[in-house]
């Protein structure tokens, strides 16, 4: 049954397998390095450095992380809260906006689309924006500062608009209107039901951005109790590195309560955990959403 390949095809097949295997390894090995380091005994790391396979297996890194779990758990809580609140609120607002902008009978849809899109072309820059949030909105040290800035992006609104336009036929609006449904009711009962794949994609983009956010904490939060998970990790890695450098420069010996090498890596795994765990399930939606986008584009 199988037709014999010509030499060109065989060459390409070989090439394809070689390149893709190498590419996959390059994407995977950095994760293996962290996982391995998190499972290595700390003395072994200090003596021999990091390896791809643990030189001396130990769970002490994880034990240290969970000896005083308060900080990590609190950071988890902050991130979970901002991710859920931000994603749901953002989705609600963006689907509504997308729906209005997708309505052909809404006269000013192009005008408003332009006002939204224009913000990607020109902006005041980081500093005026920072002053706006801290000095005029007074959001310093509040969850609002973690949630508000990322609530909507022009890209996601326009993506949403396109999804709705392709998923909900124009005639449905008309017929629902004739049946006496109001604009909001059409959105709530018809548009939301029909554009689920789009909502899933946009929601995932939004949730991922919130989950991976460290920038808002670094700009607006001074109270360590309100640090997001990623920023907490960032501090653990960097303060340790900083103090270690100081120690090396001044000859002062280091305190014993510093996070050790294996603890840092264990912390990184604990922070990444949920994403790695959910990844196989989430990934399909992303691929599907991107596929729809690319075929349309």
């Amino acid at each position: 049954m199988h037709i014999k390949d010509d030499p060109y095809t065989r060459l390409l097949q070989g090439l394809a397998y070689a390149v893709i295997i190498l590419g996959s390894l390059a994407c995977l090995i950095p994760f293996l390095l962290i996982i391995s380091a998190s499972l290595t005994a700390n003395e072994s790391i200090i003596k021999d450095g990091y390896h791809l396979i643990p030189a001396e297996f130990s769970l002490e890194g994880y034990k240290t992380v969970f000896t005083f779990p308060d900080e990590v758990l609190r950071a988890y809580g902050v991130t979970l809260f901002t991710t859920v609140t931000g994603t749901l609120t953002g989705l609600f607002f963006m689907t509504m906006a997308g729906y209005v902008l997708a309505r052909k009978d809404f006269k000013y849809r192009n005008t408003f689309s332009f006002y939204i899109y224009f913000t990607t072309l020109f902006g005041g820059g980081l500093v005026p924006w920072y002053i706006m949030i801290t000095k005029y909105l007074h959001l310093t040290d509040s969850y609002g500062a973690l949630i508000f800035p990322g609530l909507m992006t022009p890209f996601l609104i326009i993506l949403m608009k396109n999804f709705i336009r392709s998923a909900v036929p124009e005639e449905l609006f008309e017929s629902a209107k004739i049946d006496g449904a109001g604009d909001f009711r059409i959105y709530w009962r018809i548009v939301l039901q029909l554009s689920m794949p789009g909502i899933a994609t946009v929601g995932l983009f939004l949730a991922l951005a919130y989950w991976n956010d460290w920038f808002s904490s670094s700009l607006f939060i001074n109270d360590p109790h309100k640090y997001q998970l990623q920023f907490h990790l960032y501090n653990v890695i960097n303060s340790a590195a900083f103090i270690a450098n100081m120690g090396a420069g001044t000859g002062v010996s280091l305190g014993s309560d510093l996070p050790t090498e294996s603890t840092k890596m264990a912390m990184a795994i604990v922070v990444t955990g949920p994403i790695l765990f959910l990844y196989p399930f989430i990934q399909r939606y992303f691929v599907k959403g991107l596929t729809i986008g690319a075929v349309k584009g």
Binding site: S24, F93, T153
Partner: protein
């Protein structure tokens, strides 16, 4: 410059909103303006529910994007945090003058544009190559598995990326030096080698984003009709010819769309990547400082508000003019590909 605009990745399905009519599409006489105003008011009442539904988004962009535009005024003052918007002493173009004379602006611009061009060109070419090769794989489960693995780095945070970099390159126990020691070579202090970081930053950009763009191109390849390939096969074209004369040309429109959108953010882009990899390591600034990181540091580390605003305004304006020019040229060449 808001972070998430960038993090959300390359815009794709954006069917640009502006085709068909910008707000100022029709020049109106004084008489017609009155009429139009009436029309707007009528619309506002007639479609009040729709307006209400759009309101949160409009308010958001007003507060988050339009109000801060007023703040570019700080660029012309000697601003400090205690003064109000218009209390700060006006210094004219002094901030810009200083940036220009110190050579900072030129260096930052060259770095920013240079890195972004490398990202765009290398990123797209490699993504196309990988997508074509992946699409030729025949073992289904292997194809799915490798696609997932290569998409994985896109999902992890930039902080994790910095952990990886620390793990590999730190002097005392990094994987690289461990490996070198095994082969009997001495340790390398990568953090003191500014030139190496040019490659490292590009490398890690590719590592993180390749899978994402690959999926987009893969989708485009899947969309190409089999008939082309069948016909070419009958005509005796071998597989490399089929790829070169069918697949590659068919990816052109996807490529142009991605290219245009990345050009749009050529003056910004990838702050997370640079900041997480370099941080406040001054040794590396010469080769790794971009406008975004400079502005961020001026705000958070050196508290040079006026200067930071000036650099930010320059970034915005320069980028804006660049996009407008590119768009104008593209519209002259081929109207279909223009952004607006």
């Amino acid at each position: 410059m808001r972070q998430r605009t960038r993090k959300s990745g390359t815009p794709l399905a954006i069917e640009l909103p502006l085709k068909g009519g910008t707000p100022a599409a029709s020049p109106l006489g004084a008489g017609t303006i009155k009429k139009k105003k009436k029309g707007f008011l009528h619309e506002l009442i007639h479609n009040r529910v729709l307006f209400l539904m759009l309101l949160p988004a409009l308010l958001f962009f007003l507060i988050n994007s339009y109000f801060p535009m007023v703040g570019v005024y700080y660029a012309f003052t000697q601003f400090d945090f205690n003064s109000g918007l218009f209390d700060a002493p006006f210094v004219g173009f002094k901030n810009f003058e200083f940036l220009w004379k110190s050579g900072t602006l030129v260096k930052l611009t060259l770095n920013t544009i240079g890195y972004n061009l490398a990202f765009i060109l290398l990123g797209n070419v490699l993504a196309i190559v990988c997508a074509i090769l992946l699409s030729e794989l025949r073992v289904k489960w292997f194809k799915k598995l490798t696609q997932s693995i290569m998409f994985l780095p896109y999902f992890v945070s930039f902080v994790i990326l910095s952990v990886i970099v620390y793990n590999v390159f730190n002097y005392d126990s990094g994987f690289l030096n461990t490996l070198l020691a095994r082969f009997g070579a001495g340790p390398v202090d990568v953090y003191n080698k500014p030139l190496v970081w040019i490659f490292l930053i590009i490398l890690f950009y590719l590592w993180k984003n390749l899978g994402y763009s690959m999926v987009i191109y893969l989708a485009a390849i899947t969309g190409i009709s089999d008939e082309y390939y069948e016909a070419a096969k009958i005509d005796g074209a071998h597989i490399f010819q089929r790829i070169w004369y069918i697949t590659v040309p068919m990816l052109k429109s996807t490529f142009v769309v991605l290219l245009l959108f990345s050009l749009g953010s050529i003056m910004k882009g990838q702050f997370d990547l640079f900041y997480q990899l370099i941080g406040n390591n001054g040794v590396l600034y010469n080769t790794t400082d971009i406008l975004d990181t400079y502005v961020f540091r001026s705000l958070k580390v050196t508290f040079d508000i006026g200067m930071a605003t000036a650099a930010g305004l320059y970034q915005s304006l320069f980028g804006f003019i660049l996009i407008m020019t590119v768009n104008y040229i593209i519209r002259k060449i081929n109207d279909d590909y223009a952004l607006f």
